[in-house]
Symmetry: C2
Subunit: 310 residues, 2 copies
Amino acid sequence: MTERVTANLFRTRLDEVAAATETTLDTLLSPLVRPGEIERPARLLEAMRYSSLGGGKRLRPFLVVESARLFGAEGEGVLRAAAALEMVHCYSLVHDDLPAMDDDDLRRGRPTAHKAFDEASAILAGDGLLTYAFDVLADGATHKDATVRADLVLGLARAAGLGGMVGGQALDLEAEKATAPHQPQAIMTLQAMKTGALLLYAVEAGARIGGADADQRAALVKYGRALGACFQVADDILDAEGDEAALGKRAGKDAGRNKATLVSALGLDAARERRDMLAIDAIEALEEGGFGEKAAVLAEAARFTAARRS
Amino acid sequence: MTERVTANLFRTRLDEVAAATETTLDTLLSPLVRPGEIERPARLLEAMRYSSLGGGKRLRPFLVVESARLFGAEGEGVLRAAAALEMVHCYSLVHDDLPAMDDDDLRRGRPTAHKAFDEASAILAGDGLLTYAFDVLADGATHKDATVRADLVLGLARAAGLGGMVGGQALDLEAEKATAPHQPQAIMTLQAMKTGALLLYAVEAGARIGGADADQRAALVKYGRALGACFQVADDILDAEGDEAALGKRAGKDAGRNKATLVSALGLDAARERRDMLAIDAIEALEEGGFGEKAAVLAEAARFTAARRS
């Protein structure tokens, strides 16, 4: 496939998965009460919908869907797993934006949840989304094999928990208060936890649902790690050079806050070089996995991650 | 068994389960990194330990353990499920105590997590505990059958989510702002969600692990519902009449805040009557389940719930 055709296919798939994720989230976050629930309070549901619907590229769902597709797996179960992961991502944004954390007023060009509702609602909406993600994964509608469901839950909990995303956010807040310069290795660990863990989980979930063998799984893990690291350094670069309008959030805020970023630790040029090397690593991992043309869209995702401007 | 002997046995079992839960939580919340985790940040781990260790009667773990014991199930797996549920309970206390929520400075006679650490750490410690609960349940060490593990996850997510505990807290905060008097039925729904759902889950989890049949499960569900309702009305009564020293938290705060309680809706006498009736309902449910003498400790838990002074 020519590069142009692959790039177009990637854009099409990204849009398709975003639309399907939106539909799945909309259905899951309907007022319909499920067995074991008592009532879905309207305002809380509204805050959860506000925090998860109508925004974002849905990169994580895309990675779940495209990784599963490598093995011919598709349909409702895959989309449910993708939506569950997106709920965890959205909850993390809601909590990270809180006044006690990053104190952000804007997210994707809209008021953050605690601004649109109130702080208590934002905390509870985040708690509700995180909890619901595990509900969705454990439900028989996601996969007929309970072993797969339990594995999906365990993997997400580890990726999102104290040894992953939540731990990464804790380290990030500590780094902000630090007076000594941030060491590159510490920043990479922090980013692997805060951002990388969920991106890695996305491809692992796809591999698990698709029934990847050990070699295929190892290749996807390598891809997911490189992609996650690439994504975060690209984010740091965008923040350093970006403009507020394109990002829909305050730009340049990292430097003003002593945020631990690879741009501050390595400099802009070295950070760009690292970003591009990581995209190449990700693409090579797919080649090692022997997925051939089937992985063209995932390879394009790595190129897109390195080249994105917002 | 005489009443005195049963009461003593109950106290002994409650203490035993509390000690075993403490040990299990301590092990789970060690610095040891599990597969799929990257690092356990020291301060976050400390905040999670502070929020979950060293306090409380551990009534929920007790209910898990004693319900499972009805069917001869005991050991590490049961304790892990009990500890997971307690993590969810503890996370809910940490988030409920936040300035944006109930704004409490004291919990069990100690500074609340956001006072002992800071608000961001308290939010993240809560998030970490909630996430970890699902990790523990989904892990093969909790039960060898993945279907049971997936069911335990699904049940906890429904009980703790927007249609259960989190939804109940949202309704509770709304009720505080309401100007119209609180209707008893609305308060009962709110309490069934906020407090009842996790207590009910406790006995359901024990039944699931123990392999209860449909009739036994139905009886335990009836017991769990009555016990949960009894627990909450007893709590309302204690708050209305309690003194600060005995509770380790500010007493009388419900009335000062327009909290939706059954004491304010029914009056103290009717609330006491309801509390005692619910304890009887719970005990009768155990008799209907045909558990005989094996359920004496659970029956005593219902008496204890109605009679407790702190």
